[in-house]
Amino acid sequence: MKNTIKVERAKLNLTQQDLADKVGVSRQTINSIEAERYVPSTVLALKISEVFKTTVNEIFKLEKDE
C-alpha cells in the first residue's frame, strides 16, 4: 500500500517525531509506514488523516496487485 505521508508532512513542516507525538505512536512506526514496511491499522490511518485534515483515501492508496 502506497502512502503520501512524507509529502503531507513536508507540507505542514512536520518531522516524523512531531507526527508520531500527534498520533501517539513511536517515530519508528511512522518511519516504517512511510517506508511501506508496515501497514497501519484503520484507527491509526484515521488519526494520521485527521492530522493532515484530509481523508484516509487521499493518503493511503492500494497498489494494482492488492
Binding site: S26, Q28, E50
Partner: protein, 137 residues
C-alpha cells in the same frame, strides 16, 4: 492525541520489570559462576541438581520479565513485532524438538530436551527476534 486503552492491548508488565529481570539473571549467574569455579566439588549431587534447577528457573523468570515488559513506547508496531517474534519462537521450537533426536543420533550423544530448555530457547529466540526486528525499523 492521547492513546486510550485498547481492548486489543496485550497485558504486559510495567517497564521497570526489565530491570527486575536483569537483576534476577545476574542473581542467577553470579552464584552459578562461583559454584562452577569454587564450590563444584563440595556439594552433593542432589544439592547440585537443586542449585542447577533454581539457577535455571531464576534465569528463565528473568528472561520472561524482560520479554514481557512494556517498552518506552508501546504501540501497534511493537504489538505486531511481538506477535511475529512469538510465531517465530513457536515454529522454530517445533523444528528444534523434532530435529534434536536426529542430531543426537548423528552425533551419538544423549542430550534430551527438558521442558526448561525448551522454554529457555523459546525466550531467547523471542527476545533475539524482537530486538532484531525493532533495530531494523
Amino acid at each position: 492525541m492521547q492513546k486510550k486503552k485498547n481492548k486489543k492491548d496485550i497485558p504486559l508488565f510495567p517497564a521497570y520489570f526489565k530491570l527486575v529481570g536483569l537483576i534476577l539473571i545476574l542473581l542467577a549467574l553470579v552464584p552459578a559462576i562461583i559454584f562452577i569455579s569454587m564450590l563444584h566439588t563440595k556439594l552433593s549431587i542432589p544439592a547440585k541438581e537443586l542449585f542447577k534447577t533454581y539457577t535455571y528457573d531464576a534465569f528463565i523468570l528473568g528472561l520472561f520479565f524482560i520479554a514481557w515488559s512494556r517498552d518506552k513506547i508501546e504501540d501497534e508496531l511493537t504489538f505486531a513485532i511481538r506477535l511475529k517474534s512469538l510465531v517465530f519462537a513457536f515454529f522454530s521450537i517445533i523444528f528444534f524438538v523434532i530435529l534434536t533426536p536426529l542430531i543426537n543420533f548423528l552425533l551419538q550423544v544423549n542430550d534430551d530436551l527438558t521442558a526448561r530448555s525448551v522454554v529457555f530457547i523459546m525466550l531467547i529466540e523471542y527476545l533475539g527476534m524482537y530486538y532484531l526486528q525493532k533495530r531494523g525499523r
